[in-house]
Amino acid sequence: MNLVIDIAVTHVRSRLRQTLVGLLGVAMGVGFSVMMASLMEGSQRDFVSQLVDSLPHITMNDERRSPPRQPAEDAFDTIAISGLRTPETRPGIKNPYAIMAELEGWLNGAVAPSVETRAVIRYAGRDTAASVIGVDPRRERYVSKLPTQVRGGDLDALYKSSNAIIIGDKLAQKIGARIGNTIALASGRGEVMSCTVVALFHSGIAQSDETQAYTLIKTAQILAGQTGIINAMRIRVADIMQAMSVAGRIEAQTGYKSVSWQEANEDLLSAFEIRNFIMYTVVGAILLVASFGTYNIISTITHEKTRDIAILKSLGFTEGTVRRIFLIEALLIGLAGTVLGWVLGYALCSLLGTIEFKSPFMDATHLPLYYTPKHYALAALVALTASAIAGYLPARKAARQHPVEIIRGAS
């Protein structure tokens, strides 16, 4: 074995109790960091995947980012516009099926048409506002997870009776409706339509389950009072991270506002960024505290080994060699602590994974944890860097000691 490593290993091994304390300090730091990171990223990923997977990745609707230019704006340099009428109905997407065909030509994913309208649902004397979405069941299965979220039937049940409707389970609970009941839907224009509840759905997102209902496109069109209208396209892409750029391309191509899941949840994602910053700060702080333990131990060993330093230097060891010995001691503690910390972190994660957890907002029954080598590598990197710094300072001090002063002090 290399002499420097041999001396370092012997020092560390001969002070077993101190070494163990330092090692446990690092191990705890690494272990808890891994657990924290796994928990934080796990919950974030779980939340995002619930959010992203249960809904289409991109929604294109009949709005435009900026209002269309008035003909007068093109004709004159300066104009004043007033008294414009607000349209009572939504304009709808022009030539929706041609647009769909065009998108399907290049899009790595799927497109489905839909009609979005609002209505008041009435049942047994209870009223509640809801968002009614008309979908094409044959296409819908390719753009959202709605077919898998349907309870007490399937999405094709919409074909089984005229004016069939699938409502959120929480919405059903709220109004007291069950499968087979006939509920009334009142549109904004005052028209009332009777619909039969053919199934319920449960997306796991409380807001959807409480306020949404699905019908066939035709039913939603009748409710909106606009036959033949398609006012939204639901789009799913193969690579969810590409959703934003795909949405941009669709918008550039069609002129219609296309909102990717990232844009729709911008606030949430920026909140996650802050959360991540906090997480890494906490993780860094844990490891920093652990590194103080290493510093303390290397300082103590250095202090106790003052005489040995004098011996080594009198024998002809250079300052650099002496520094390396103590630096390696710190790294050995850091390395062993890191490995132990990995085991501890994995064990803590496994333990947390067994704890049952019920959230009013999510369906998760267990704490969501995310396992990735990145967390382990990151914790190791910080722990080893902290150990190296913690070891370097006393090592430098040790190497600078003048052997004569130590020998004089000892004699």
Partner: protein, 229 residues
Amino acid sequence: MTANAGASPVIALKSVTKTIGDGVVTTLVRDIDMSIFPGEFVSITGPSGSGKSSLLYLLGLLDVPSSGDVFIQGQPVNKLDERARAHMRLSLIGFVFQFHFLLPEFTALANVMLPMRALAELDQHAMQERARTLLASLGLHDHMNKLPGQLSGGQRQRVAIARALANTPKVILADEPTGNLDSKSSEQVLAIFRRLVDETGSAIVMVTHDLELAERADRHVRIVDGRIV
């Protein structure tokens, strides 16, 4: 010294002075001229604080003079950097201190091998063989694998001597090597030194309080208030 007439000194000091302190300056050794020749056994005596050990540390490149020059085998070493001085110490000089100064976690054999491993001129097997031979020649056949804590004072000092001899130094500098030993062990150490001088041709410089031991060296240097008298 007569035996070395005409030989070049292993170590030579020319007008060497060593002072310490910034405000209140203390002079440890004053204007010393001294040469140590191969195969010479020199003893240095003097009252406590007279500068004996300081002189030894200057001879052994553990300390640098405030003024004057130190030569090792004719080469001036004052301006050498820390690394070069360390290498010179490792390959040319062996130290024996009053307190054995062995590494407590290493066996006698491992302690003797330390300087050889640091110099890295021999392979592992050759180093081990040489360390065994040295320890055996000092009567430590049965103690090679013992830790310093398991050895008596005299045995530890002999291990320290074996370590000092590991890299076949040109000079051995011993600072009160018998200061912590009983008379029997002191005699043994002195006999070993004498044998080394006669058999290997290495020079030995021994600082001691014991005048009787000092008189048995080839040359006896007495130092008072940092000056050779």
